[in-house]
Symmetry: C2
Subunit: 366 residues, 2 copies
């Protein structure tokens, strides 16, 4: 057997990937620093967690842990379709929205085709585009926001998909309805516009797009949402796409037969029925955001106004340094070097006490 370099055998676009760096698990940080009761404000998780009924539903579903999932997610799709006032056949369910985004990339992108995305957009998407060998067209942002006119100009005959993260993670900025409609009107109707709305539950701005009504007019629109943020089910991995029947049919061919965990679909179905919990979570986030903004102003710390459940702050020296110091204070946040924002830290809005703990630590380390 000749000695082989398996690295060289892999597809070149896989070999050249820099893996996504997730936020550190609390246990790992506590292990490394020998501290206890650290708080994690690094992954935009809902500090209230999921509604109790979702936990009960998941625990009950464990009784059938040996049975394969319903590959069609029949019950969840019925519930979602009712909730969204859409048709169950327009839905594609995935193992987290990252899986839904991958299914879209797998179905519509390949070597030789291109996708357009904004600078500073959620890093998993560029990573996905590259992992399928497609050309990544990154469009410079305008004040950390998507520059829609520049994105329209970046569309060529090679472009199959334009990604809009709304609001954008990690900047918290958003694309208005007018800008989104401008994009949809300006580009060819055979280019998909994929709208990542992971944080949409937190938003009440009047000029934030009503994407589901736009979908009725623009069949090239695909809306992607998740149960990982406001619904508090990040551990379970449940995301979904809403699209035209035709696109949904394609996406459901491209996905794996059993890509969705039964526990996740049972918990999500229960969580969907408890909208009071969502309202409570959104209200807590609003209060926490005010608390953080006011204190950051007092501390003279600059930040990017955010519509999500997180806020990105600017520090004078290296963000990694501040991140390390905060770690030693037992507060885990996210430095944004991977986003070419070496002087910025992303902080998740926590409970009142968690926010206070972060603010005290920040004051101490700055």
């Amino acid at each position: 057997m000749l000695e082989a370099n398996f690295n060289s055998l892999a597809n070149s676009y896989i070999r050249n990937l820099t893996p996504y760096q997730p936020g550190k698990p609390i246990e790992e940080v506590e292990r490394e620093l020998g501290i206890a009761s650290a708080i994690k404000l690094a992954s935009n998780e809902n500090p209230l967690g999921p509604c109790p009924s979702a936990i009960v539903a998941a625990q009950e579903a464990m009784r059938k842990a040996h049975i394969y999932p319903d590959g069609g997610c029949y019950v969840l799709k019925q519930e979602l379709a009712k909730f969204l006032n859409t048709h169950a056949m327009q839905l594609t369910i995935g193992n987290g929205s990252e899986n839904v985004l991958e299914i879209i990339v797998k179905a519509y992108l390949t070597q030789g085709s291109a996708a357009v995305i904004s600078q500073y957009a959620f890093l998993t998407i560029p990573l996905l585009i590259k992992s399928y060998g497609a050309d990544l067209i990154s469009v410079p942002a305008k004040n950390f926001s998507h520059d829609i006119k520049k994105m329209i100009a970046a569309v060529t005959d090679k472009t199959r998909v334009v990604f809009i993260v709304n609001p954008n993670n990690p900047t918290g900025t958003y694309t208005t309805n007018d800008d989104l409609v401008l994009l949809l009107k300006s580009i060819p109707g055979n280019v998909l516009v994929v709208l990542d709305e992971a944080y949409h539950e937190y938003i009440d701005q009047a000029d934030y797009p009503d994407s589901l009504s736009l979908l009725k007019r623009y069949p090239n629109l695909v809306v992607v949402r998740t149960f990982s943020k406001a619904y508090g089910l990040a551990a379970l991995r449940l995301g979904y796409a809403i699209s035209s029947l035709e696109i949904a049919d394609i996406l459901n061919r491209a996905r794996l037969p059993f890509n969705v965990n039964t526990i996740a679909s049972c918990a999500a179905t229960a969580a969907l029925r408890d909208q009071e919990h969502i309202m409570k979570s959104v209200a807590l986030n609003k209060q926490g955001m005010q608390q953080l903004e006011e204190s950051l102003k007092k501390l003279g710390v600059k930040y990017i106004p955010s519509l999500g459940n997180f806020i990105t702050i600017q520090v004078k020296n290296s963000a990694v340094e501040v991140y390390q110091k905060l770690l030693h204070e037992g507060v885990i946040v996210r430095p944004l070097g991977a986003y070419d924002m070496p002087n910025y830290l992303r902080v998740t809005v926590g409970t009142f006490d968690q926010n206070e703990m972060f603010l005290k630590a920040l004051q101490k380390v700055l």
Copy 2:
């Protein structure tokens, strides 16, 4: 906006896929036929389910449902490495072994490269190969088994991967250690040999390969296993690959950052610690297999001797017809038309009572 045909926009190799047809969920069958207490012997699930400690671990993990999974699966990898006597860095964890198989295909196959697989092999693999636009080289089987000599002959300079399903689903046939070594010795060392061992816990045949010791001699070997069968965790989607460090590094670049559900990794970690439950499950399967074989002989029904937790039987008339009749008796099995075996039904080995119920129903409908 010009009217677009989104079907024609998708990658042609996705458009042309025929989606995998999973076994019907019991609820769906009962709904359709208006019957109760149907039994499902269609998906090779462990009738005992998972060990109780796995259920408890999963239910406890739900308390942190709002926290993202540890993308590195630190705890599960440590436990698996200890159990397999391998290094944690040699492991790639996936959302079921179908996800692990997809990661391998994504990393090593693309348009213009080819993969070799046997006729009658687990259908998800050919589906995956096609879904990445690679050439599928299907090698005719010999008495429903992999024909290793023919598979060796089918390897060309375009071949990146040879898939061996051992034992094979749905035929239950297996590839001996001698044949596997012959394959590994005969093909270039830069062609991956991916061994799908989903059912290996059930096997005690002396000439069944010890794949992990072969891995030490053949670094192009990749062993794929699952918690969906003997471990009884099919609903949770947990599979893994064991490979050289170099291949594992590539596979971990190709996977999504959070492809494994926290509940699944906690349950799998607990299940791994209860090997008594596995022995119990394997013993039950052995008894059930004897029960089925003896009765099938008495009934004069031909079957393919199987090493898995399932047995494939031959019927004189259309298997779909027999399948439909069995459905009305409340017994769900799997007709194998999709495998070009229109006169064969795959039946999962159940509990003693489930097997009796199936045998009575079969006798009635034949």
